[in-house]
Symmetry: C2
Subunit: 283 residues, 2 copies
């Protein structure tokens, strides 16, 4: 066993899947889950994603060697503030949020010398939610980005690296700033794009939606609360990416209206080539 006790705060799809995966790989002697609501706790216990459950945030972290913040993005800061006085000396704290710049600096400050903070972003998930959908293989072959700052403790980074490695993730280490920029491009913008496609779809056209439309809008079915807080936490990157996207769309529109067949084809070939690379990598 790598850890005596791991505490997972927030046991939804991601928190629950971490619990299942950590148990499967025997990473902790005991896994404690904390939630704000009894119902959520029951679901996580029923799914056997955690060994013990509690609503008492402060007690839950007291003896933990690793604390995983798996709450929605907008709850990470307040949760960090709430647990910081009760941390065990030398513990490792990590979050799993989709934005990093707004979290990492605050976390390092509030934890101070009591423990070490590493930002983690496992790039797995689904439009589904809740511990009942948790899956111990969710992180297998999925990218997981860890953040590193000038304050990062090398041992803690190694431990978190090994943790996600054991869960099957492909690990990348970036600064929080780089993370937020790249993820805006590859995850936050696509989310906006899918949601806007759903919004502009005419209700009378929906019955003609084929698999193409279904796939392209799938992520628009994700949790609106979660995504509101993600997008609000990465405003300037997302705004820049939307602007770029609009420029690209307007360029395509002009090629179509102007009958520029050759140029349109070249754009579509470029788009296909980039997309096909993902297939070759088998992802």
């Amino acid at each position: 066993m790598k850890f005596k006790q791991i505490t997972i705060i927030g046991v939804g799809l991601i928190g629950g899947s971490i619990g299942l995966a950590a148990k499967k790989h025997k990473l902790a002697a005991r896994i404690v889950g904390v939630t704000a609501h009894k119902g959520t706790l029951k679901k996580a216990l029923k799914r056997q994603a955690i060994d013990f459950g509690t609503l008492d945030l402060k007690r839950a972290v007291l003896n933990s060697d690793m604390i995983i913040l798996a709450t929605p993005v907008d709850k990470v800061i307040s949760t960090l503030r709430a647990v910081s006085p009760n941390l065990k000396k030398g513990c490792i704290v990590m979050d799993v949020a989709s934005v990093k710049e707004s979290i990492v600096g605050f976390a390092e400050k509030v934890i101070g010398r009591k423990g070490s903070f590493i930002g983690a972003h496992p790039m797995a998930g689904s439009e589904q939610r809740g511990a009942e959908k948790a899956n111990g293989n969710l992180f297998k072959n999925a990218p997981c980005i860890l953040t590193k700052t000038i304050h990062t403790d090398a041992k803690a980074l190694k431990a978190v690296h090994d943790f996600w490695k054991t869960l099957g993730s492909k690990i990348y280490i970036l600064s929080a700033k780089e993370h937020d920029k790249k993820i805006s491009n590859i995850s936050h913008l696509p989310h906006i794009a899918a949601s806007c496609l759903s919004l502009v779809a005419a209700p009378s056209s929906l019955k003609f939606a084929a698999t193409g439309f279904r796939d392209v809008t799938r992520i628009a079915s994700s949790d609106p609360d979660l995504w509101t807080s993600i997008l609000m936490s990465n405003r300037s990157n997302v705004s820049n990416d939307i602007k770029n996207y609009i420029r690209q769309l307007e360029q395509m529109r002009r090629l179509i209206v102007g009958g520029k067949e050759g140029a349109l084809r070249r754009h579509l070939i470029g788009a296909k080539k980039k997309r096909d690379k993902l297939l070759i990598k088998g992802r």
Copy 2:
């Protein structure tokens, strides 16, 4: 057997799948396939999507009761012109292209009283191509739009309706104009949206692409030649839809930049509700 001979012109993914499905449901005593290239013909014969294959367009249609034009959109008009002198009296001709306004009027004129033309658009397909990927169940539960004009022969419409019904499609009857408008909204715009997302994705971000990005860009891997001709045949509808989409994106961008959390959430909830309806319908 409903038809003595069905001729399929163009035996790629769609043509080949029609052949397989028609054979499975015993809709024709013989199915003849025509292509411009020997290699394509061999693949279709190997896949048993057709009973006989030929490169001779004119001979292939001579004795056919039903002729299905399954070439790329930009070849439909020239193919119609080539086969029209050799049509069997009373035959039914249908295309399966994704645009209709530019085809239907011409087809009715060139066929005249020799036979009947019905435009059909089976809304199935995939980013894959070629007869080797043909699938006899491709049209099952998929929408299929048939076009109707003031010249449409009721008997021919009924026969084409029954044909697709037997293949498992859900059938809708629209004017060519309505068809092109609705399909721009639910199929052509999403294609542009996916392709532009692929184009603006930073190469250094691609390794962080999770299932969300893969799904949202899947259709960007489709055949660029096919899509160039589809988009070029539906210019004004596609241009209007791109403009609407850009307006929606710009509105979302402003909400994000302005920190309008409540309004952003309402937009995301609206997008989710519309997308979730597709799930409820099991499609």
